[in-house]
Amino acid sequence: MSVFSSIKGKYHERIREKAIGRAQTRIIIAGKSPEDFSEEELEIIVKEEEDKILGDAKEKGLLALAALLGLSLWS
């Protein structure tokens, strides 16, 4: 069980890191720096990016499943 929980933890950690990276990029593009924002504001931005990543992953997974099963792509 600990193996599964550690894998889950690593997965969440990766998503969080990616979301932070995207949030930083978004802030940079806006011509600001993370220090300009309060912790609450940063949390909101990272949360939004995290939701986007999870949504994209779900969408891509479904598309891949449809491609493999429905379209019999590899036959």
Partner: protein
């Protein structure tokens, strides 16, 4: 036609992302197969001789398994290295951009902040993040 294009697109995307891993895996598999053949040949040679040296055979088994363990260890090390590189990429990109400076306002502000301090440190440690709606609800509760 569209399936062909889709298939090639997926294959190219996979190759570009996992190129080094694929090449390394192929090298490891070839090495393992070569090792097995070499060891089998050596055992056959020992059997063909009039008096097979048992000590040499035992050493050959030990060397073979040591090499296999070494290869497996190197594969795990390689994967860990690759994991670390991808995690660092985002941070390096941000660091580079901050280093270049994005105008006077930003550079002046970042000078006042401690260089070692990461504004995202607390967010990284949090288990669950709150959305804007959560903050509004929380503020109304008080």
């Amino acid at each position: 036609m569209i399936f062909q294009t889709l298939r090639w697109t997926l294959l190219i995307a996979f190759w570009r992302k996992y190129k080094s891993n694929v090449i390394y895996s192929i090298i490891v598999i070839i090495t393992l197969v070569a090792l097995q053949y070499l060891h089998a040949d050596y055992l056959q040679y020992q059997q063909l001789t009039a008096e097979p040296n048992e000590q040499h055979i035992a050493i050959s088994f030990a060397v073979k398994w040591l090499l296999i363990m070494g290869l497996i260890g190197s594969v795990i090390w390689m994967w860990r290295q690759a994991d670390g590189e991808t995690a660092d990429k985002g941070r390096k990109f941000a660091d580079k951009s901050f280093g270049k400076g994005l105008g006077k306002k930003t550079s002046v502000k970042s000078q006042t902040v401690d260089k070692g301090q990461d504004p995202f440190e607390n967010i990284r440690a949090k288990k669950k993040l709150r959305s804007k709606a959560d903050f509004i609800v929380e503020s109304k509760d008080d």
